[in-house]
């Protein structure tokens, strides 16, 4: 699903933020205009994709956020909103009123939550208020940036607020050339072990976990893979493919960590399939140079079978940031593709 950025402003400053570089390079007051929104909607409509995600920054900070959702509903688009759940009282009350007639089939929220122990009281209360009001629209998203993360609070939120029984688990990825908190490749196995320790509790609560892009398959033993297979109903993903992100200024890139590579504009394409092909070619070219985040990725049969992408591509590019000559060569390959 493609992502449309409504605004570059964000309320939080998460240590793992993988949009950090993109945000720092763009004016915070740059918000999506109605003209651009209509163009984007027509573009996706003509591409036969009647759904996309709204992103930020924090989408609720866009002054016309509610009207945008209402417009998308009228255009028969299914809208998914990635939010922190943190917003002003006025916006919250308006959202309650205006979204009341909308069904969860038309609108859903993926609420990105952080460990409550590391979150301020006021932020926590605002998030809970959101979950209380929009629980039936919402599922949780949790970004892992330390090996010793906790998931108990996610289970508690889901049960307490009647949320969708699914958690999007994202691995915080590095941004090539920029510092952010993320798990280094040598810490990933510990992270995987920690994740596996929560699976029985998640199963008992009938909550499934889905991996966002860039989770390497070899983090899990065969036995763990069997457990995960049953847990996720066979829906396991270990690939890293091109997403499509569209900025308020109509710039297009493949994902936040790689937002510096081959950034272009929506006006250069006729449909979204063309964009995906464009970035697939770019990533495939790069992947022919770097196979994955581990040495073992080079000869991995699961990679050649395309069951695993060898982790997040940004990890691989990041690795080269300490090797200027290799990085230059890689960027040449990527940019010439």
């Amino acid at each position: 699903m493609a992502n449309i950025l409504l605004t570059q402003q964000c309320i939080r400053s998460c240590p793992y933020c993988f949009a950090k570089q993109h945000m720092s390079e763009n004016a915070p007051d740059d918000t999506l205009t109605w003209e651009n929104l209509m163009y984007i909607v027509d573009f996706f409509d003509a591409s036969n994709e009647k759904h996309f995600s709204l992103l930020g920054g924090e989408p609720f900070l866009h002054p016309n956020f509610i009207d945008i959702v209402l417009y998308l509903r009228e255009r028969k688009f299914r809208t998914n909103v990635f939010t922190s759940g943190v917003m002003s009282n006025k916006m919250f009350e308006e959202a309650i009123k205006e979204f009341a007639p909308i069904t969860p089939n038309q609108l859903s929220f993926v609420v990105n939550v952080n460990d409550p122990k590391k979150t301020s009281f006021s932020e926590l209360e605002t998030v809970k208020r959101f979950l209380r009001a929009f629980g039936h629209f919402s599922s949780l998203s949790f970004n892992v940036y330390r090996e010793d993360f906790d998931m108990d609070f996610l289970v508690q939120y889901i049960n307490e607020y009647g949320l969708k029984r699914h958690i999007r688990l994202g691995l915080a990825h590095p941004i090539p050339g920029v510092k952010n908190s993320h798990i280094k490749p040598d810490g990933m196995r510990d992270m995987a072990k920690n994740l596996m320790s929560f699976i029985p509790k998640l199963n008992a609560n009938k909550i499934s976990v889905g991996f966002d892009c860039g989770m390497p398959m070899c983090l899990f033993t065969d036995e763990e893979m069997g457990i995960l297979y049953k847990h996720a109903g066979g829906q396991l993903k270990f690939t890293c493919g091109p997403a499509v992100d569209v900025g308020p200024d109509m710039s297009v890139w493949t994902c936040f960590p790689l937002s510096n590579y081959k950034k272009t504009t929506l006006f250069d394409f006729d449909n979204v399939q063309q964009i995906r092909r464009y970035y697939s070619k770019m990533m495939n070219a790069g992947k022919s140079e770097i196979h994955g985040i581990f040495e073992a990725c080079d000869d991995c049969e699961w990679r050649t079978e395309k069951l695993c992408s060898g982790g997040c591509y940004a990890h691989s590019v990041s690795k080269f940031h300490n090797e200027p000559e290799n990085l230059r060569k890689l960027e040449e390959v990527i940019n010439n593709e």
């Binding site: 209509m38 027509d42 209402l70 417009y71 205006e98």
Partner: protein, 290 residues
């Protein structure tokens, strides 16, 4: 009544005047919504109501649409659309209506709002209100109207130009605004006939009575109106060199700027119209048909 061809007669709602016509196409102009249903019933008794055009200073979202207006063909000339929130709330009612909405082009927001309405299936258009125009914005709207791959309602006057354009004829898109005396005649309450709405407002009548409409072909004002374009070529005005002459016919002569922005727009629109025509040319059947 013996006429050149069947004109649409444009007039205010005056039951006495309307009773004098039989079997005519009548378009009623008004500045209020008070008598819409009565208008519909009275006009359709012996004539055909083309539409009721309401010129009002209210924004769209401040108009209270009644459900029983849905049988009435309506055109609204409004200064603005109003808030999007209200508009979205009104959409279920608006979609029931037989309605076209026109906003003045001089306000950039109106250009966006017309696109917004069209994208949600509401027939809409701009009208030229003799104020400075942001031609670039108008060009974007024209491009949307003619090239968008996504389904949308027609946007006037571009839809009119695309659908009526013939490569071997000129096209006067003033017809969209009922200002083409070959199709529309404006009649005042005394039955006098003016060639355009503007001439009616100025009290300049071509005929003293609607009963003389059959003499229109020989009428000096009418002939002058239809040959006025020749001046551009006699005087070699800028418009006479314009590649988009056929669809504009010098309408913006008084406001041509150094960049010839109006020309840039209408050249694009002409190209769009030609593309549209080409696309819709039916190819001869090659395979047998049942």
């Amino acid at each position: 009544m013996n006429k050149l061809k069947r004109h649409t007669l444009v007039m205010n709602f005056d039951e006495n005047l309307i009773s004098k016509f039989n079997g005519e196409n009548i378009l009623i102009t008004s500045d209020s919504f008070n008598l819409l249903n009565r208008t519909y019933d009275v006009v359709n008794q012996n004539n055909k109501l083309v539409n009721v055009t309401v010129y009002t200073q209210s924004a769209l979202t401040s108009i209270k649409f009644l459900e029983n207006w849905n049988r009435i063909p309506l055109a609204l000339y409004l200064p603005s659309m109003g808030s999007y929130r209200m508009f979205f709330h009104m959409l279920p009612v608006l979609r029931q209506m037989n309605l076209r909405i026109y906003l003045p082009v001089s306000n950039n927001q109106n250009i966006i709002d017309v696109q917004m309405m069209a994208s949600l299936g509401i027939f809409a258009g701009i009208y030229f209100d003799k104020k400075p125009i942001n031609w670039e914005k108008v060009k974007e709207l024209a491009f949307y109207s003619q090239y968008s791959k996504s389904q949308h309602a027609p946007v006037e006057p571009f839809h009119h130009i695309s659908s009526k354009y013939k490569s071997d004829e000129t096209l006067d898109f003033n017809a969209v605004y009922y200002n083409d005396p070959n199709q529309f005649l404006h009649i005042n309450n005394e039955g006098k006939v003016a060639l355009t709405y503007q001439l009616l407002k100025e009290g300049k009548f071509a005929l003293e009575s609607y009963l003389q409409i059959n003499t229109l072909k020989e009428n000096e004002d009418f002939v002058n109106y239809n040959t006025a374009w020749q001046r551009h070529f006699l005087d070699k005005t800028t418009c006479s060199y314009c590649p988009a002459w056929r669809i504009c016919m010098g309408k913006f002569e008084s406001s041509i700027d150094a960049e010839k922005s109006c020309q840039q727009l209408f050249v694009e629109v002409l190209e769009g119209a030609e593309n549209h025509q080409e696309k819709n040319k039916r190819k001869p059947e090659k395979v047998w048909q049942l």
